[in-house]
């Protein structure tokens, strides 16, 4: 902890001028009294917390005066969803969401972690276990008795949109199609994240097909959870070991100068910013190299577009008489990259696509937040703004009512599940749309098009 300085995250509270802009934008405090707002929770409450002390044991052992529950004066900070809307609107640069995440970590360090939150933090493990027998796992989890049990035993919201295990993991598909994969001198590394590996391998397939279509060989090295679910649940020491393993596993590719591309905006944000900042690893050389090598896939594709390296064989996704209206929501975790909305730049190239950009602040789910029974309704209320927006696009789309909306698009997996849950419409990753427009992918069935 010797790299703590007066410029550390906690002390960015010094930039707060109490203007309350964050409070007026916060989507969570708008719908619930349980969260008093970003200013209250971060720069204001932080002055009353024992923040000079490390929040967990460091290399040299436990701190000499351990934190007790009594020294963590507040609990309402746990109702911060971590959506980062506050960071986005703060005029003075207070790292509000990070201060809250650290406060939560200190609560966990002092009071321990609930089994539910430990489970939600372990989605890699859950994914791996379920994938042993995905059919059985889906049957075991997705029935009303199990969901009621999960709600009463663990506090996992009964109606929250839990994903289904896919019958084939991304790795097995890669092994099965090894001979069809492109070999090239131009190489990129794909960071798939846990959701793509176990629940939505087709998103990874779409990404790999697009990258190969551009002429790149896609390396998918062994990797593990980025650690974000643990960071959000305050389990910093576990998150750190996950992060360090990723740094080690990806080091050779980073050192070879290959870009690390991800389709999950929260995983890439964690590698780029969350883990280095929250875990005080900014000065760790491996962490910094990985941070600089990591890209959101569309951020990287936009560079190719700007350099005229993007194949132009994009075909309309609709039959000519049917407008293809696509409400697109840029998830909070993407906005936190501060790279604009690169998916829009690419999707705009698809002929006939009527892109509708949502200005909603947040879908509500915020990673694992909306899965908790006490927070499920908050998440749904936060998402209402987005759900209503999607619904309004269908209504106004066309006078002769031909223009119905059949998909939404969003870069982040849990946000897509929440969108589907809130709107009843299927949601797609933008890379699935791009792959479909290149004729590589079946958007409806979510699998590579015949011949791929």
């Amino acid at each position: 902890m010797q790299n703590t300085t007066v410029n550390s995250v906690g002390l960015s509270l010094n930039a707060c001028i109490k203007c309350n802009i964050c409070t007026s934008y916060c989507p969570v405090s708008e719908v619930t009294d349980s969260f008093p707002g970003p200013k209250y929770a971060a720069p204001q409450s932080e002055r009353f917390r024992d923040f000079g002390h490390p929040y967990y044991e460091d290399d040299s052992g436990p701190i000499s005066r351990p934190l007790t529950a009594g020294q963590m004066p507040d609990a309402s900070v746990d109702y911060c969803s971590g959506c980062r809307v506050c960071n986005e609107v703060c005029p003075t640069g207070v790292r509000i969401a990070e201060i809250n995440a650290r406060a939560r970590a200190r609560i966990v360090a002092a009071r321990g972690l609930s089994l539910r939150n430990r489970l939600l933090g372990r989605n890699e493990l859950l994914g791996r276990i379920g994938s042993i027998a995905p059919g059985l796992a889906n049957f075991a989890l997705h029935n009303s008795i199990s969901r009621k049990l999960a709600a009463s035993l663990f506090g996992i919201a009964e109606k929250a949109p839990l994903p289904r295990w896919h019958h084939e993991t991304l790795n097995r598909w890669l092994a099965r199609t090894r001979t069809q994969r492109l070999r090239s001198d131009r190489k990129v590394v794909y960071f798939h994240g846990c959701a793509t590996q176990y629940y939505e391998p087709f998103v990874g397939m779409a990404a790999i097909l697009v990258l190969e279509h551009l002429g790149y060989e896609v390396i998918v090295p062994p990797q593990n959870c980025c650690g974000l679910p643990m960071l959000s649940n305050g389990e910093f020491s576990a998150a750190e070991s996950y992060h360090r393993r990723n740094v080690a596993r990806l080091a050779q590719y980073v050192n070879a100068g290959y870009p690390i591309l991800g389709t999950s905006t929260s995983c890439t944000l964690t590698l780029k910013e969350e883990a280095p900042e929250l875990l005080d690893l900014e000065s760790d050389a491996g962490t910094r190299a990985l941070k600089l090598a990591t890209w959101d896939i569309f951020e990287w594709l936009r560079e190719r577009l700007d350099q005229d390296q993007l194949p132009s064989d994009l075909r309309p996704l609709n039959r000519s008489d049917q407008p293809f209206i696509l409400p697109y929501h840029a998830p909070c975790q993407l906005r936190a990259h501060r790279i604009g909305k690169p998916a829009l730049d690419l999707l705009a190239r698809i002929p006939g696509l009527d892109l509708r950009e949502s200005q909603a602040r947040c879908c509500g789910i915020a990673g694992t937040y909306g899965y908790k029974t006490e927070k499920y309704q908050i998440a749904m209320d936060v998402g209402r703004e987005l759900f209503d927006y999607v619904a309004s696009q269908a209504d106004k789309s066309d006078l002769d009512s031909r223009g119905s909306v059949s998909f939404t698009a969003c870069d982040s997996e849990t946000c897509r599940w929440q969108l589907e849950h809130g709107t009843g419409l299927p949601s797609r990753h933008p890379v699935e749309l791009l792959a479909a427009a290149y004729g590589l992918y079946d958007l409806q069935a979510r699998r590579p098009a015949a011949g791929n």
């Binding site: 007066v6 109490k18 932080e46 460091d58």
Partner: protein, 621 residues
């Protein structure tokens, strides 16, 4: 003209004066205390908040060190809830002399000041922002003390023992009787600065506990008491940098203490001899010095957000004045070579031990005692000595009881940094916050207004920390003024039950209090406050241009509190605090047009205070 009769009249409502009133009342004396402004308006309310272990003075001023450690042990029992048990580090930085630490540790042992050397690495684990280049660390029982709360708690204990405390009562005359060699002080004339009325107080004995103003009080009795007034400039950071008191392990000097007090760290202090206690300009070189020295303890401190600067003045006294010779420190003073003709003494070298002046022995005036010198830490001992001397003069034998008598509120235990936040959270009072920075709820404010004499908003600041946070009143001033106005207009329900000063900083206590009032629908008179709370019919000082009472004028309350806050921000106006002040300026000058309030000629007791020393001096040294 009103008259009062008492046995002991105490002059000064700081830590010492209230301590004297408490001690005297406990010994069964009829006691009256007068204070020209609010309690703690003087040095008590402007010190850095350190409860000394005595270690700071073990080599330089061993008498004071022994007083400190003894009182430290006593106050932890009698004023527990006014103290945060932070512990203290004495750290050796690369700049500090080699042999001081060992001599320091030996002197601590000799004087029975508990001192443990701990590994620098473990100190750094506890305080990660500390200078990583420190080589040795000693841990001592230093602590942080809330001098506002402690004085109010002492005052409540004094009232419960029968004392009458009169804030906003200014001494104008001391009455002497008898001729040369047989003079006796028989009483005082006092001006009620809120109503403008005069009051005569006949007293058997007067104890001058006016701190830095003691010389002025003594002069009214025709006695010369030459105070050594040491001005100290302090800075507060926006948030705590450490949770432990940090001292440099060296001969006490400028800018070598960091005290975590409530939500801030105070960097202290300079020590400049001044002629008068009222006019305390904060000079640029003093600020620079605090920052440069602070960086040696916490690197980067100078670039952190500084909230405010203020100055207090030490009421030091030495009967044999330091006329240019070396000070009486153990190692011989290092810096005191000034010729005797100049204003010579470095107040840094004056003793911090208490000074008791029995004017009967010293000047042949019966019924007059001055108690001065000392530290906040030794206020109780000072009171004990003063009342012992009073007993002697009055020819009675009554033993001091304060050391064994806890003041109301100690059952709460030591306060801790998070206590307000935890109460706000437990009682869900987030929407009740008036001062968001310092977590002051509406009911805390109302309780203080209705039960404590409130003449200006600054009185509320001392009661509940209103406006002491990052925005320095930017968001709470107009809210507080609105609430005061509602209260005065009778639009708010009066608070019920006995208001316990010991809980004046507790959001939960006030919340339960006002909830109870609402439930019963009744309010009751304050059983504690001996003076009536100023009401609409109270009059302002007759000299003032505006005939209406300051307290009933929201505009005047607003203007004067903003000016008072501005006074402490102006000297440190750069970086993040400048940005804050710009927002505050937009709120008050652009939105509320507070620069053109219809009170331009109005005066409140706060007006002269912020005018007297609001300018920052540009002199370089």
């Amino acid at each position: 003209m009103k008259r009062m009769q008492t046995e002991i009249l105490v002059i000064g409502g700081g830590a010492t004066g209230t301590g004297v009133a408490w001690d005297a009342a406990l010994r069964g004396f009829r006691t009256v205390l007068i204070e020209k402004r609010d309690l703690t308006h003087g040095t008590t309310g402007r010190y850095h908040g350190l409860l000394h272990s005595g270690a700071r003075y073990v080599l330089k001023d061993p008498d004071s060190a022994v007083e400190c450690i003894n009182e430290n042990r006593i106050l932890r029992r009698t004023h527990t809830h006014c103290i945060e048990d932070t512990s203290g580090f004495f750290v050796v930085t690369p700049e500090d002399e080699d042999d001081y630490p060992d001599r320091f540790a030996a002197a601590c042992r000799r004087l029975d000041v508990p001192c443990t050397e701990i590994p620098a690495a473990s100190a750094l684990r506890r305080e990660p922002l500390l200078n990583p280049r420190i080589s040795r660390v000693f841990e001592l029982p230093d602590a942080a003390a809330d001098s506002f709360l402690a004085t109010h708690a002492t005052a409540q204990a004094a009232r419960q023992a029968g004392a009458t405390l009169l804030p906003y009562h200014e001494l104008t005359r001391l009455r002497l009787s008898g001729g040369d060699g047989n003079r006796t002080l028989s009483g005082a004339t006092v001006l009620d600065t809120v109503s403008g009325e005069e009051l005569h107080i006949d007293a058997d004995l007067v104890i001058n506990a006016a701190g830095a103003w003691s010389g002025h009080v003594a002069a009214l009795a025709g006695v010369e008491v030459k105070m050594i007034l040491g001005k100290g400039v302090m800075l507060a950071t926006n948030a705590r940098l450490t949770n432990t008191v940090i001292n440099r392990c060296k001969m006490p000097g400028d800018g070598d203490i960091l005290v975590p007090i409530h939500t801030v760290t105070v960097i202290g202090t300079t020590d400049e001899r001044v002629a008068e206690p009222e006019d305390l300009p904060i000079e640029q070189w003093e600020i620079d010095l605090m920052l440069t020295e602070g960086d040696k303890l916490v690197p980067g401190l100078s670039r952190s957000r500084i909230l405010r600067a203020w100055a207090g003045v030490r009421p030091l006294y030495q009967e044999t004045q330091l006329a240019g010779g070396p000070a009486q420190s153990e190692n011989g003073a290092q810096s005191n070579e000034c010729p005797a003709t100049e204003l010579p003494q470095d107040s840094r070298d004056a003793t911090r031990a208490l000074a008791l002046l029995d004017h009967q022995q010293r000047d042949g005036i019966r019924g007059f005692i001055t108690i001065t010198g000392g530290k906040w830490t030794t206020f109780r001992l000072m009171a004990e000595s003063a009342v012992d001397a009073a007993c002697e003069q009055l020819g009675v034998s009554r033993h001091c009881r304060t050391a064994g008598t806890p003041v109301p509120g100690v059952e709460q235990g030591h306060y801790w940094l998070g206590h307000r936040l935890s109460e706000v959270e437990d009682e869900k009072l987030q929407s009740e916050l008036i001062c968001e920075c310092e977590l002051v709820t509406r009911s805390m404010l109302e309780g203080a207004v209705q039960r404590n004499p409130t003449v200006t908003l600054d009185d509320l600041r001392r009661d509940v920390r209103l406006g002491m946070g990052p925005c320095q009143g930017g968001f709470c001033t107009y809210r507080a003024v609105g609430i005061l106005h509602q209260l005065r207009a009778g639009e708010a329900s009066p608070a019920a039950g006995e208001w316990n000063v010991a809980h004046m900083q507790s959001p939960a206590h006030h919340h339960r209090d006002s909830a109870a009032a609402e439930a019963t629908g009744t309010g009751s008179e304050s059983a504690l406050s001996p003076t009536p709370t100023p009401t609409d019919d109270s009059h302002q000082r007759s000299a003032a241009v505006d005939p209406q009472a300051a307290v009933s004028q929201p505009n005047l309350l607003l203007r004067d509190f903003l000016q008072e806050r501005w006074k402490g921000v102006a000297p440190i106006l750069w970086g993040q605090q400048l940005r804050q002040e710009r927002l505050d300026e937009l709120i008050y000058l652009s939105i509320l047009n507070a620069g053109h309030l219809p009170v331009d000629y109005g005066e409140s007791p706060l007006s002269s205070f912020y005018r007297s020393d609001s300018s920052i001096s540009g002199s370089d040294r």
